[in-house]
Amino acid sequence: MEKYFLIALLAIFALWYLSYSATRLDRLHHRVETSWANLDGLLQRRAAVALEIAKSEIADPASSLLLTAAAHQARDAQMQTRSQAESGLSGALGLLLNDGHLVEGFIEKDLLRELSELTDKIRVAIALHVDAVTRTQMVRQKPVFRIFRLAGTAPLPVTYEFEADVL
């Protein structure tokens, strides 16, 4: 009799543990999604600011053209080409801003300030997203999660290439 009781207890604990683990993984997947949504939003805003800069006095006609193209590409990119497009935009912005010419005018200074604030935020957002992704990958590697298929049909989250190089 005692033996059955013990087995029942163990079974209950095992069930609780599985449910607990599933909740844990679900929470991680949720974190990956929200951190990506956040990052995505910030990148969209960066593309918008880049377009503004392209239209402003800061850019000469040639860089303006380059920047406009890169910003549109980043905005419209599909998931597969996203990495390339975002890196392209980072490059175009870098080319324009690192050549050391002084920017005058109130609106232009404002734009550049907004861009540098956005860049700081994007850096943090990338860190948060990468952390969520690696954490999820790590947890999904564990035997309990694999054997009982606790991930269900959720796709394994991945990091994009542009997240690796600092903006």
Binding site: T23, R27, T34, S35, D120, K121, V124, A127, D131, M138
Partner: protein, 392 residues
């Protein structure tokens, strides 16, 4: 900052009315956010419940446990857990900010009990501890719930990576830089003076290193004096001092904020000979903001705060001879000392609350994406239903 006003819950693990860096940080952050118009509630262990500001809720009386080479006054247990749950469910918070959630305290309990946007700040920097590895598997899923992690320094960040295998964004501790900006030079504190602020009786603050270095310094600068400010029973320390050097010491006791600003503007050099146990070194940031030239031991926290010696001179930790050498070098060259102090003062502005709190707030905004507030976690909801009480 967004126009939307948030309801923010801060959890402080250590006794609110005991002195400490984490408590100061939580208090300053809470007051900054309140001044910006947000609703803030702080949950902390409290000893004297009559003497706390409105925005603090007491979680009960703290108990003392030895932790990380000092005595920590924290709180945990079933009654505290009930209090934490009640606070979360009554607060209707948009976001919780938990301080030091990896030690057994109400921060950990809150992290366990809550669901939603959670931000955690890790303050401590410690060497590898076996105990944390042992409880790692239990801690891991709880710490994992944090939407965003902040470390106050690179030292705290590497502690976190080492023990819990997770990364964090570094946002430094804050100071009110303008309180120290305009200190007046007081004649009785200027000249060849070395300043020291802190609880000097604690060995890890390193006053003994300075004591050992003093005879050598005195040989080169006969009129050197040491000014020690901070709480403590100076009799005991004075008895340890060599009688020939005793006249060089002046113990000021606890000093006010205004006096501190004057103190930092007046002394020739500010000395921080700490031997370890520091994670950030807020006092160094204050000393820099006050315009003092700083000499500090090269422990990791100070090394990174002073930019590897760029904004203040470093000496080899626990080496009185090296300290003496650095101090003498700076006392002799007024020009070098002045440029060091000026560079440090400009650099210290980045630790101002205006900068630091904006950084913290932008992390709040990121944590808030796609959420609708903090609730009790599902595990606890099920448990409450089982016991026949609705938590929320």
């Amino acid at each position: 900052m967004t126009l939307k006003k948030l309801r923010i819950g801060l959890v402080c693990p250590y006794g609110w009315d005991t002195p400490g860096g984490v408590q100061n940080h939580v208090r300053d952050l809470a007051e900054y956010l309140i001044a910006k118009g947000h609703y803030v509630s702080v949950l902390a262990p409290v000893i004297d419940e009559d003497a706390i500001p409105d925005y603090v809720s007491s979680a009960g009386k703290p108990i003392s446990i030895p932790y990380n080479g000092a005595v920590a006054r924290v709180l945990f247990g079933p009654i505290a857990f009930a209090r934490v749950r009640q606070w979360i469910s009554n607060g209707k918070f948009d976001l919780l900010h938990l301080h030091e959630p990896a030690i057994p305290s109400i921060s950990l309990l809150a992290c366990w009990a809550a669901e939603g946007p959670l931000v955690g700040t890790f303050h401590a920097a410690a060497k590898r501890q076996k105990a944390i590895f042992a409880i790692g598997p239990i801690l891991e899923p709880v710490i994992e719930k944090l939407t965003a992690r902040i470390a106050v320094s690179e030292a705290a960040r590497s502690t976190l990576t080492e023990h819990l295998e997770t990364d964090a964004v570094v946002v430094p501790n804050g100071i009110y830089a303008d309180r120290y900006r305009d200190g007046e030079v007081r004649a009785q504190w200027s000249g060849n003076t070395l300043g020291f602020i802190g609880r000097y009786e604690e060995p890890r603050k390193g006053l003994s290193v300075l004591l050992d270095a003093l005879p050598i310094i005195a040989r080169f600068a006969p009129d050197v004096r040491v000014l020690v400010a901070g709480p403590g029973d100076s009799k005991e320390v004075q008895d340890q001092i060599d009688p020939e050097l005793r006249h060089r010491f002046e113990f000021l006791g606890r000093i006010s904020e205004k006096e501190k600003a004057d103190f930092l503007s007046s002394v020739a050099l500010y000395i921080a000979p700490n031997t370890g146990g520091e994670s950030f070194g807020i006092i160094l940031a204050e000393a820099l903001a006050g315009g003092a030239a700083v000499v500090a031991s090269d422990i990791p926290a100070f090394d990174s705060l002073l930019g590897k010696g760029e904004y203040g001179a470093l000496f080899q930790s626990e080496d009185p001879q090296d300290l003496a050498k650095v101090v003498i070098g700076l006392l002799r060259e007024d020009e070098k000392r002045r440029t060091l102090a000026q560079r440090g003062k400009a650099y210290a502005q980045r630790f101002d609350w205006d900068v630091v709190a904006e950084d913290i707030f932008s992390i709040y905004e990121m944590a808030l994406v796609g959420s609708d507030g903090v609730t009790l976690s599902s595990e606890n909801r099920a448990w409450n239903r089982f016991l026949g009480r609705e938590g929320n």
